[in-house]
Amino acid sequence: MKRGILEIHNLKKHYILRRTRLLKKPGMIKALNGVSLSISEGESFGLVGESGCGKSTAAYTIVGLLKPTEGRILFKGDDVTSLKRDQKREFRKKVQLIFQDTSGSLNPKGTVEWILREPLRAMGMQKREIKELILESMNLVGLDKDLLGRFPHELSGGQKQRVGIMNALILNPEVVIADEPVSSLDVSIQAQMLNLMNDLQERLSLTYLFISHDLNVVHYFCDRIAVMYLGEIVELSESEELYRSPLHPYTQSLLSAIPGETDHKLERIILEGDAPSPLNPPTGCFFHPRCFRRMAICSSVKPQMTEVTKDHFVSCHLY
């Protein structure tokens, strides 16, 4: 793996459930089952997958909201997997998170100014500095300073999203993890947001980890994409390459499921059944029960991640 600004090595997050029956072994949810990737400085890296695939878990684990069960997280080469309070504080200044865009990420009891002030207060900044910084940030995301005194419910969807972005950028991070930042926005607002995020990336030299279930958005926004299924990465490649020649059957079905594309190179592939729950993952390759190209070996042996063409990795027995 190339050295990147943010790297995760074999990250695992397992949840052990409460015992439901006395003599039965407690169930385990393998939300993340060994995820490794390396994000280069200045890049926009996309993480794509459907619900339950573990992408949000990955995001929360990287920023320290969750403790990983196994694996390491490296920032600029330093191990940041388990940090003490002071170190964590420093780390928080460098790597931040934009939450999923429901207005739940803004405290309904706080004004915009209060919401933005809190992180700066926590960092020990002085009042005057804080005020200046907030005004600057409002400018940066294109919001009028009159909105500082408003409450979240008084803002429009687009405005709330900008406040959410500001909240993440106000600490001047180097890496921003965006968890479904545009998912529930109307098309026109979504376009505004993506343009804004691109603009900010240039101005502030940011690196993005962009998490979404919308392949079109991720393809547009990101340089490289990793596809996740049930806690694992099944394919990883440069974004245009992924679109042009998706190798993993899951990626192929994801692409073919995008509605309204008339230039479907692939016949519409409709998967059977629902996504299995992470509580009882299938044996062998996790995807095999729904895979339209499964072979005998797929149900018993787990495939390894291999580089099929330059910088294009897949985890599948077909290759």
């Binding site: 928080r92 429901t102 739940g104 990420s105 009891k109 809190e118 992180p119 926590a122 960092m123």
Partner: protein, 268 residues
């Protein structure tokens, strides 16, 4: 549709009336509370003695007024104790979870398994009677419900994105609990406090009625009830008056609590 619910209005009216009476009693009562007047024993309600006199000829109204101070005082302090400790315990338990939560909740569950009056009774029988112990006992007995409500609020809110957001931005746990979560949980706590007040008034009345609460010379509606029982055939007003006032105060706070809850529902 009124903006303010009818419950809220009734509650506020009742409480204000009784509160005003209490304030007035701090400076003035129609008659002395302790002055004995043998000629006027057991006189029925009249212009002079609006609520009649008791077995010592003391003006019942004046005694009621003075006793209202006790009712409010005990209610206020006891609920404050209950709220302060209950909310703190509940917040810590709900926010941090894990083994701390388990242990605390088992204690709370144990406390809630007893009828609260019994707990208060146990306390005063161990530590003695009197104003201070009554307040402490009632305070302790109200801790569990505050703890429960607060805990459930914190458990609910700590998973919300804006709390996670504060954490990720480096805000300290204490500050998150106080300034990010608590304001959102305040509403049910206030309702519980209102109900708690009325429970406290009832509890004090019950304890004092049994002779285990407020002791003479401190006045108390509850004790007036027990003292007047014997004379109920001779001067019923002496027994009815404290009962009515207890009811009014309790109702007042109950209506207030309901009213606040109604307002919250409406806002949703």
């Amino acid at each position: 549709m009124d903006k303010r619910s009818i419950n809220l209005r009734i509650g506020i009216v009742l409480i204000s009336l009784l509160f005003s009476m209490m304030i007035v009693s701090l400076f003035y009562t129609p008659f002395s509370v302790t002055e004995i007047n043998r000629e006027e024993r057991f006189s029925p309600p009249s212009v002079r003695h609006l609520l009649g006199t008791d077995n010592f000829g003391r003006d019942v109204l004046s005694r009621i007024m003075k006793a209202s101070q006790t009712a409010f005082f005990v209610g206020l302090v006891a609920v404050s104790i209950g709220t302060l400790f209950g909310v703190t315990i509940g917040a810590v338990s709900g926010y941090f979870g894990g083994i701390v939560d388990e242990i605390i909740m088992r204690f709370i569950d144990a406390m809630m398994a007893f009828p609260s009056i019994l707990l208060a009774l146990m306390f005063v029988s161990v530590f003695g009677v009197g104003l201070r112990n009554t307040i402490v006992a009632i305070g302790i007995m109200s801790i569990p419900s505050f703890a429960r409500i607060t805990r459930s609020g914190f458990v609910q809110y700590k998973e919300l994105d804006y709390v996670r957001s504060a954490k990720v931005r480096g805000v300290s746990n204490l500050r998150i609990m106080l300034r990010h979560i608590l304001p959102n949980v305040l509403s049910p706590i206030v309702v519980a406090a209102s109900m708690g007040f009325s429970n406290a008034v009832l509890a004090e009345a019950a304890l004092s009625y049994l002779g285990l609460g407020i002791q003479p010379p401190n006045p108390s509606w509850g004790r007036m009830l027990s003292e007047s029982q014997v004379f109920i055939t001779v001067s019923p007003w002496y027994a009815i008056a404290p009962g009515i006032f207890i009811t009014l105060l309790v109702l007042g706070f109950n209506f207030l609590g309901d009213g606040i809850r109604d307002m919250r529902e409406k806002r949703k």
